[in-house]
Structures are given as C-alpha cells and as structure tokens.
C-alpha cells in the first residue's frame, strides 16, 4: 500500500455530506447579503456613488481649485486610469447609439469564421484585490471553438463560454430592441422581469458573447446595435484598458442588481478590447466588487486545440467529428460516468471472427481472466503466465500515466505532442512515419483501460491529427451504426470505430478484421457476469 492508497483510505473514513450547521451558516450569510441591496435604491448623490477613494481624490482636486473635468483616480489598489467625471453640465459626447452604429459598421468588415474552427486567445486579467496567492495581473492563453461550444486549457476539456447561448442565436430578432428583449428573456424565461433585470441581463449576455465567441460579422453587428438600445447604457470616452490601449466604453451604471459593467472598444477602430466591472464600496466590505478587467491581447485562428500557430484552414471532417464526440462525452460526463479505481474488475464481451469472447480485466489491465477449455484462468502481468496472455493493452503507457488522478510521470497534454509520444511505443506495424504506432496504442488504450473520462478526449483529437485520416459511417459486423476513423496504413490497426450516436469506443480494425466491444460493465471480480 503506497502513500496515495493510504491517503485514499484516510478520506474514506470521513462520510460525504454537508452538516446542517454549515448549511445554516451559509443560508444566514446569504440572507445578510440580500438585505444589503435595496430593491429600489434611494437616489444617491453622485459623490456617494463614486465611493470613498474617489471622493477623496475629487475633494482634493476641488480644494486645489481645479475644475473637476478629467482626473486620474488614485485608488491605491487600482492601476492609474483616466476616469471621466461628469461635470454638472456635461459636454455632449458620443451617444451610446452612435457608438453602437460605428461598432456595428466596423464589425461588418470582420472575417467570417466557420463553426468548429479553433481559436487561440491570450487575455490578461487584472484584479484590484485578487484572492490570496493569485497575482493581480494574470496573462493566460486558452483555446475554444469559434462558436464557443468547446474550450481547452492544456489537458482540460470543457464546454465553451456559453455553448447553449450561441445555438439560440440562430434566428435573430429583426431589430435591436427586440434582440435586447430576446437576450433578457434567456435569463428570465418564465416571468415578468423588471426593466433593470432586463437591462443587466441583456448587457451581460452581450458582453459575454463579444468577449468569448468569434461570431459571424452580421451577428456581431446586431449585438452592438442592441447594446446601443439598452436605455441606461452610457458612453465613457478617453479611457485606457489594462493593456494600455486607448479605448471607449459602453457603460451600464451600477444598479441594485449589478456592479458598473463596461465593454471597452478600441478608440480608433471600434474592435472589442476588454470588459470590466467595478462597484464602489458603500461601506460594507461585502458589497464592493473591486475593479476587475479582462482584456483580449491576441486572437489567432489555429489548426486545433493546443496549437498556437496561425492556421485559418477550415476544420476537416475528422476534426468536426471529434468535436461532436467531445460534446457527447462532456454531456455523458455530467450524467455521472466516473473514473473507476485502477483495481476495479471490468467485464467485456468482445466480438471477433464471427464469435464472441468474455474477458475480465482490472481497470488498469494489470490482471486478466478468461475461460480456457472451460476453466477460468486468471493471470497477473507480474506472474509467469503473463507471456501467454493476450493483453488488452499489449503496448502503450501504464495506466498510472494515463489515469487523470495525478500520478506521474505524465503524458504530454496537447494532441500533437501526445501523438508523437505515443508513436514511440512499438506495436509491430510498419508505417511508423505515418503514426501507425500511435494509432495502435490509442486503440489499445480505448479498448483496454477503463473509461478515464474527459482525459481520453485528447486521444480523440490526436486521431484527427493523423495525416490521411478519413471518417465514414459504417455498419459493423454486429449490425451497429458506427463511425470509422480510417488510416492509410498497410499493417497494424487501420481503423477505430465509435458508436455513431454516443461516440464511445466501439472497436477497431486490424488486418482487415473487426474486433468489437459488444458489452462492458464493472463487476465484482473475475468470472462474474453483469
């Protein structure tokens, strides 16, 4: 028993569950919060809205005999930033509608990016008071598909920023005001919402779409127009974003429902730069949202997740299929398919050569059992019978390396480096330059290791990167509808089959013959049928 097993046993001695007292404390804290926000706030004086640090800055400025026009806010935790302070008779500037029209016109000149195209985005996030241990300024790179359905951070797969939202944009309402109502309705589908509810919901939904998805130019333009038609939206000129770029912002002033929200555009070409949120403290430490801003530094079309090289070639059929598979696996993960313990026994019914075979194996394939001449024979890899056993994972990395539960050494995360690494294992095939070893190993892993969940998605994306891969619908020897990934190899594994609706592993093709996974279930031990 190693330290990891011991720690697992330690945890097993504590029951899973939340204590009633913890829940009471949480509910009480939530209740306190609700009372902090009045439903209909009394009109507050401008200076009260600005908050203490600004108030001092303005007071100091007035004391020095300066007219409050433009001044640099000097809240110590915030980067220097030009902030327009409205004098009592403001000089007329750009209206929100005019800014919206300009942004929409600029958006229409943008590129059309096909759905499923991977996009690499680098952002910088500044937080005035970051959580303990986090830097105030954090630069990150991440990948997602243009329409925001899938996201990828090295090794971590997930849904995109709002995969459900984008799909609902298919039939846009015909005018900006209707679009605002439509977007608000997404957040408040059932009942009547207040005007403030609707404004905040429309603004923040548009903010999210603009910041994360690469939308068709016409949709982008419509979103900007809709922004201009939110009644309370204002324009804030002469600002810089956290990357120091000159910007102009749509501002939704603070309400009882939200902080001050800003969408910052480039001051010269009206392209999207950043989003920011801040709420002046009203004296309660719990109610203030210190200034936070996320700016997009670069956006690059790339060939796939993990790649940073610019590549605007549209996704191949294999890549689009893998993206469908990814969505299906993510959806299944939510249904609760977990990663089993490495020692879990798994029963498999395999079909090959017109017959079927029952195989019991531990999840990590370190021990296997099957019937030989009517007798159940169990063999561990470490014992002398191992040489005579047909292992499900005959070549490839150990389960420790594949299992996402943190044992090392680890495989590369990104699909292309992973493909290169897996190709270094020898499966006995000949087209090594064409990644035949990697394909053979991936077939082994899918066939022989228990579901390692979303981590296996990287294997799928690796398969889509194999040169010459094609995808076709087939009916397999068991009569099931499958998708076959075919590889142009002369030996070894030349095809991998996935169920055409669930995208789960269904079998593989070797030497022209199919080996099919007909049934798979966790069982108590060797010889036990589900």
């Amino acid at each position: 028993m190693n330290e990891m097993d011991l720690l697992t046993r330690f945890r097993a001695e504590v029951p899973l569950g939340v204590s009633p007292h913890a829940e009471e404390l949480f509910q009480a804290g939530m209740g306190d919060h609700a009372t902090e926000r009045p439903v209909a706030p009394a009109p507050r004086h401008l200076l009260a809205r600005i908050g203490l640090p600004w108030r001092f800055a303005i007071a100091a400025g007035l004391a020095a005999g300066l007219v409050a026009g433009l001044l640099i806010a000097v809240q110590p935790s915030r980067p220097p930033r030009l902030t327009a302070v409205q004098p009592s008779s403001p000089a007329p500037t750009l209206t929100a509608k005019l800014l919206a029209d300009r942004a929409a016109a600029a958006a229409l000149t943008g590129p059309t990016v096909p759905g499923g195209q991977w996009v690499y985005q680098r952002t910088v996030t500044y937080q005035a008071s970051p959580p303990a241990g986090m830097p105030a300024r954090l630069t990150q790179g991440s990948w997602q598909t243009a329409e925001g359905s899938l996201s990828y951070n090295p090794g971590v797969w997930g849904y995109g920023a709002d995969h459900s939202l984008y799909s609902k944009l298919g039939s846009l309402p015909p005018n900006p005001i209707a679009l605002d109502r439509y977007l608000a309705k997404l957040s408040y589908p059932n009942a009547n919402a207040t005007q403030t509810n609707n404004d905040v919901a429309a603004f923040s939904t548009i903010e999210q779409l603009l910041s994360t998805a690469i939308l068709p130019p016409s949709v982008n333009a419509e979103l900007y127009r809709a922004l201009g038609d939110i009644p309370t939206v204002q324009v804030k000129s002469h600002i810089t974003d956290v990357d120091g770029r000159a910007g102009i912002a749509f501002l939704l002033p603070e309400t009882s429902q939200s902080a001050n929200l800003e969408i910052i555009l480039d001051a010269s070409d009206y392209s999207y730069l950043a989003q920011a949120a801040w709420e002046p403290s009203n004296g309660s430490p719990n109610s203030a949202i210190p200034f936070t801003e996320t700016a997009v530094l670069t956006t690059t079309l790339v060939s796939g997740p993990g790649s940073v090289q610019a590549d605007s070639a549209p996704p191949s059929p294999a890549e689009l299929t893998v993206e469908q598979a990814a969505m299906a696996l993510l959806n299944n993960q939510k249904a609760g398919l977990g990663v089993p313990d490495p020692s879990q026994w798994i029963y498999r019914e395999l079909g090959a050569d017109g017959g079927t075979r029952d195989v019991w194996a531990r999840a990590d394939d370190t021990e296997q059992a099957s019937y030989v001449n009517g007798t159940l024979v169990t063999c561990a890899r470490s014992t002398s019978c191992a040489g005579g056993t047909t292992w499900l994972v005959s070549a490839g990395p150990a389960f420790d390396v594949v299992d996402p539960s943190m044992r090392g050494p680890w495989l590369p995360y990104n699909p292309q480096p992973l493909l290169d690494k897996l190709n270094t294992y020898r499966t006995g095939c000949l087209d090594t330059a064409g990644y035949c070893n990697a394909v053979g190993v991936i077939a082994n892993l899918l066939n022989g290791y228990a579901d390692v969940g979303i981590s296996s998605l990287t294997w799928y994306f690796s398969l889509a990167d194999v040169p010459g891969v094609t995808v076709q619908h087939i009916t397999d020897a068991a009569g099931r509808a499958d998708l076959e990934f075919s590889f142009p190899f002369t030996s070894g594994v030349t095809g991998i089959l996935f169920d055409a609706s669930t995208y789960r592993f269904a079998g593989y093709v070797q030497s022209g013959a199919q080996t099919l996974l007909l049934q798979q279930a966790n069982v108590a031990g060797p010889g036990v049928l589900p």
């Binding site: 190693n2 330290e3 011991l6 720690l7 046993r9 330690f10 945890r11 504590v14 029951p15 899973l16 939340v18 204590s19 913890a22 829940e23 949480f26 509910q27 804290g29 939530m30 609700a34 009372t35 926000r37 439903v39 959580p131 303990a132 241990g133 986090m134 991440s142 996201s151 090295p154 090794g155 971590v156 997930g158 849904y159 995109g160 408040y188 589908p189 059932n190 009547n192 919402a193 207040t194 905040v200 999210q208 902080a259 949120a277 719990n286 949202i289 996320t294 939510k334 370190t366 005959s394 150990a398 420790d400 539960s405 943190m406 090392g408 680890w410 995360y413 294992y425 020898r426 006995g428």
Partner: protein, 203 residues
C-alpha cells in the same frame, strides 16, 4: 429576502456551474444551487484536514466568499470546483497549526481525532496501523504548499490542471510539488511503490 417583482430563472438541474454563477449575478438566490452541488465534497475535504468542529465555519465561509466574488468568476470554466477548493484551501491555511496538531495526535496515539465523531458508524474500527501513523507524521512535516498540493490531489478528485487553477500556480509547479511531496512521504514510510506496468511488454 426576495425583492418583489423579480423574475426567477431556475437553472436546469444539468446546467453547468458557470451557467448557475452567471444567473446568480442577477439573482443571488441561484447561488444556493452551487452550495447544494458541491458543499458535501468540500465539507468532507475540510473535515478530513481540520476535523468537524472547524469545518462548518470554513465550508460556509468558502461559499459566502465565492458568492461575493462571483462577478469575477471566469465563466469559461464550466466546473467551479477548482475555484471552490482553492478558496477552501486558503481558509484552511489560517488553521495550519491546528491541522498539524491533528496529524501529530494520530501519529502519536494511533487514534484519529478527525474520525472519532464517526466511530459509531464504523463499528469495526481499529487503531491506525503503523503505516498510517507514519504517514500522518510525514504529513505534519510537509511544508504548507506541498501539503496543500498533495492533499488536493488525494482528497479533492480534481485533475492536476484543476489543482493548478485552485492553487493559482502553473501545472508544472503542481507536478513538481507532487513529486517532491510523494518522495518526502516515501522517505518516511519506505518506498512501497507497486511494480508499474512495463511500458513495452512483449507483443
């Protein structure tokens, strides 16, 4: 507490965490869904590290802190657990000496103070074996950052990339911390690593 006239969008039971958080920005009540989903696991993690007495406050405070910071949550992260475990781990850090006392007590006496309240549920409990006591002693000696990383790995069900998010460090740092933590634990316990599957067994 519910303001009159506000509409309430009810998140789908299968809406991801980011969707729940997004809705909660307009309707604070929605945030209780996040508590319902994740509090049981967070509680088990905190109880395992600090015992039942301290855990209730820390679990509630974790979710209340998260609630107050929800406008800053990166909605691109569908799964909120790294965020929540990160906050809980920070809060646990304020009780470092209490945590170390618990490990030392287990190491010294073989009785686990953390699980004592549950002993009636585990009738056949025996005092911890030699290896467990050695492990507890080794945990008490780990630096805070190695212990945080190791225990998130063992007790949170997060992947190492998610642990990196929780701790706000690069994934490479998580890997190297884990490897250092494990070798330190093994130095105490004796290396009992089971033979790993050979990388290239005969075909």
């Amino acid at each position: 507490m519910t303001p009159q006239g506000l509409a309430h969008a009810v998140p789908d039971a299968d809406a991801d965490d980011a969707t729940v958080i997004r809705l909660s920005r307009h309707e604070p009540e929605q945030f209780t869904e996040l508590f319902r989903r994740h509090a049981p696991h967070i509680q088990r993690y905190v109880v395992r590290r600090l015992g039942t007495d301290a855990a209730d406050d820390i679990v509630a405070e974790t979710f209340l802190l998260a609630f107050r910071q929800r406008d800053r949550y990166d909605l691109a992260r569908a799964d909120a657990r790294p965020w929540l475990y990160g906050i809980a781990t920070n809060l646990i850090g304020r009780h470092r000496r209490a945590e170390i006392r618990l490990y030392r007590a287990l190491a010294r006496t073989g009785a686990d103070p953390v699980t004592e309240p549950f002993t009636d549920r585990v009738d056949d409990r025996v005092s911890a074996d030699h290896a467990s006591r050695q492990l507890a002693a080794a945990l008490a000696r780990l630096s805070a950052e190695l212990r945080d990383t190791m225990l998130l790995a063992a007790w949170s069900d997060l992947s190492y990339e998610q642990i990196a998010v929780a701790l706000g460090v690069p994934t490479g740092t998580v890997r190297s911390r884990l490897s250092r933590a494990r070798s330190k634990l093994r130095q105490t316990m004796g290396d009992v690593d089971p033979s790993a599957l050979a990388e290239e067994p005969p075909l």
